[in-house]
């Protein structure tokens, strides 16, 4: 089932008359039978989009198509969707079996048939042996599977997952993401999931869309988006550890940071922002990019060098309360969703804040044996480096 979002817009009206545009003119085509990730920081409009696809929210403007069918006016229960909530939303007083069979009641399925169906789905997600337990007796990972089973039992045309991994601990996350991938492949259902965790999105999606402030930033296969970011936001949002950002300039066809020449770049002279992935540095004898190493972290075969540099741009946190959708005055729109209200959304920020001002990271081979206090010279791998317009943040391409 191919899903088309056409000029999709959602405006939240709050009591104080100020409007919040959560989703702004979204145009996306979600290919049939794929695992599709909606990725973005807290408040980017991704959950709002998901809830519009499932019909719990009405778009302010625009249309939603399932295949050729315009489902915009269709209520959620008739859209043929399965929805898995971030906190799973299992009915606590029902057993696993009752939970899974609950959606079948309204489609008048034969009791025996329903039971068989529920058992099949439960077996598929690997909880077939837990049918008589209550949700409280299950681990987080098992609850998640029950939620997926409940969403799948109606044989939906589309499966929607809201932050499917955020309530799981790190170990379960890895396991579950493989599991989701497997289930998606076995059922072949078009699956859309929402996440703020770029690692999660990159690791399981066939394709992702990066959203910021309700606007599409980039669409593509995860690796493609990572390797060729369209703009500074996408470059910064993807990758762990995050990309290093420098103030730089283009001068006479050369890229300059401070007074070091980084490489050739044929473009008009201008001030630019340069992003270099941590793995984009190489220790080289013949280079003018000379720095003093402050700290060294060695993990396995990689060594991370932490280096202070005056031209590093302080990394911004993606947690900006001002444009958080949960700041929408929800009392005014009582039954409306307050999207992304879960504070789990924020849990990637500590990683960012480890980086203090004016330092950058470089990952190099441990064999070099760099010590704190050493002076090293770097060259930069061209394909790990991205140059952006200082004003707009758009990618600056070298003249061909």
């Amino acid at each position: 089932m191919e899903i088309t979002l056409q000029n999709l817009t959602k405006v939240f009206q709050s009591k104080k008359e100020d409007e919040v545009v959560a989703v702004d003119n979204l145009d996306i085509v979600i290919p049939s039978g794929k695992l599709y990730g909606l990725l973005g920081p807290s408040g980017c409009g991704k959950s709002t989009t998901l809830f519009m696809i499932c019909g719990l929210l009405k778009p302010t403007e625009g249309r939603i198509f399932f295949g050729n069918e315009d489902v915009t006016p269709v209520p959620p229960e008739e859209r043929g969707i399965g929805l898995v909530f971030q906190n799973y939303a299992l009915y606590p007083h029902m057993t696993v079996k009752q939970n899974i069979m609950f959606p079948l009641e309204n489609i008048k399925m034969d009791k025996k048939e329903g039971l068989k169906k529920a058992q099949d789905i439960a077996d598929l997600v690997g909880i077939g042996h837990l049918m008589n337990r209550k949700p409280a007796q299950l681990s987080g990972g098992q609850q998640q599977r029950v939620a997926i089973a409940r969403a799948l039992v109606k044989s939906p045309r589309v499966l929607l997952l809201d932050e499917p991994l955020s309530n799981l601990d790190a170990r379960l996350r890895l396991q579950t993401r493989e599991e989701i991938k497997r289930i998606q492949r076995e059922t072949g259902i078009t699956t859309i999931f929402v996440t703020h965790d770029q690692e999660e999105a990159m690791s399981i999606s066939d394709e992702i869309v990066v959203l910021d402030e309700g606007v599409t930033q980039q669409v593509g296969r995860p690796q493609e988006v990572y390797n060729k970011p369209n703009n500074l936001f996408v470059a910064k949002f993807l990758g762990t550890p995050p990309i290093n950002i420098f103030d730089g300039r283009i001068e006479d066809g050369r890229l300059i940071i401070g007074d070091a020449n980084i490489g050739k770049f044929e473009a008009p002279d201008q001030e630019v922002t340069i992003g270099i992935r941590p793995e984009g540095f190489k220790i080289a004898e013949r280079s003018s990019f000379q720095v003093d190493v402050e700290f060294v972290e060695t993990i396995g075969r990689d060594t991370t060098l932490i280096i202070e540099h005056p031209n590093v741009e302080t990394p911004e946190s993606f947690e900006d309360p001002e444009d958080d959708e949960d700041k929408v005055d929800t009392s005014a729109i009582a039954d409306e969703f307050a999207p992304d209200t879960d504070d789990k959304d924020m849990d990637f920020t500590p990683k960012q804040s480890i980086r203090s001002a004016k330092t950058f990271r470089a990952i190099v081979d441990a064999d070099y044996g760099v010590e704190p206090g050493d002076t090293v010279k770097f060259s930069v791998k061209p394909h790990k480096m991205h140059v952006f317009n200082k004003e707009t943040g758009e990618l600056v391409k070298p003249d061909a």
Partner: protein, 306 residues
């Protein structure tokens, strides 16, 4: 969908409750204010002479029983409530200190019993406890050489009868307060106590500086609601003294404001009776309001909301 207001549907859900509340709560409130301003209203005949601002209030206020009723009501409230709050607070702190859970549950059950008894039945038991000749109280006092006192018997005095009543009312009020305080205590973060112990604060200091302040919103709530409850004292008196509201031969010695309301209601067929009932009830409401207002003013300064 979700954004829509469900006006019609909502009122459908509310309708049963609202019809009942409208008939038995809202209408009576307005009607009480209406009745109280009618002059010589007779509800059997449906007649009244006109409207009056003060006649009915004046009638109640000059009722020879009014001062006694007001005095009794105030005395019951201002003695039994503070007493039972303090005792309940102490008992709940001690209960909370019991390390064995089963034992704590056992005591808890005992202390809760007064809550689940019938006020009339237990009031009768109290009356017999205070019996001059056959009661347990005088037997106990006799152990100390005190000769039997006529607490609640024939022509017993106001003082002894009131004392017995206060013991009963206090006893009856403990259970609810102990439960509420205990659940409040169990909700206090143990860290406060650990921190205090590390600072080697003494027991009484911990009680005064940690327990009471942290429990103060609950103490305040209980105190206010108990006062409001005590202003309405009536069933307890019926339980101990019967409809005569006092020791035999000293009838109506224990009369309260609420008793005045029901007295008037019992005469509902006579001219002016319902208006007097309304006036007495509104006076009670006024007392409650003033008291609650004062309490809220005090609590603003004193209560620590954690």
């Amino acid at each position: 969908m979700l954004e829509d207001r469900h006006n019609i549907k909502s009122w459908f859900y509310l309708a049963p409750a609202l019809v009942l509340l409208g008939t038995f709560i809202f209408y009576p409130i307005f009607n009480a204010f209406f009745l109280v301003f009618l002059e010589d209203y007779n509800y059997l005949r449906g007649t009244f002479e006109g409207f009056t601002l003060t006649q009915n209030f004046r009638y109640v206020l000059t009722d020879p029983n009014f001062h006694l009723a007001m005095g009794n009501t105030m005395l019951i409230a201002f003695v039994s409530v503070p007493l039972s709050v303090v005792i309940a607070l102490l008992i709940s702190v001690w209960l909370n200190a019991v390390p064995i859970k089963r034992l704590q549950g056992f005591f808890q059950t005992i202390f809760f019993l007064p809550y689940v008894t019938n006020a009339i039945a237990i009031g009768m038991a109290f009356a017999f406890l205070f019996n001059q000749h056959y009661g347990l109280v005088n037997w106990f006092l006799g152990l100390f050489g005190i000769s039997p006192i006529n607490w609640v018997g024939l022509r017993a005095g106001w003082g002894t009868a009131m004392f017995s009543l206060l013991v009963y009312v206090t006893w009856l009020g403990l259970a609810f307060k102990i439960m509420v305080f205990l659940s409040g205590l169990q909700g206090i973060d143990k860290q406060y106590y650990e921190a205090a112990r590390v600072d080697s604060a003494s027991r009484s200091r911990i009680f005064r500086r940690i327990t009471v302040p942290l429990l103060s919103p609950m103490i305040m709530y209980i105190t206010v609601t108990s006062f409001i409850g005590a202003f309405k004292a009536y069933t307890e008196i019926i339980g101990m003294f019967g409809e005569r509201l006092g020791p035999a031969g000293n009838d109506r010695a224990m009369i309260t404001i609420v008793a005045l309301v029901y007295d008037a209601l019992d005469r509902s067929g006579t001219t002016g009776a319902l208006s007097e009932a309304a006036a007495a009830a509104l006076i009670l409401f006024g007392v409650t309001l003033i008291f609650t207002f004062i309490n809220m003013q005090v609590s603003k300064k004193r209560v620590h909301y954690g």
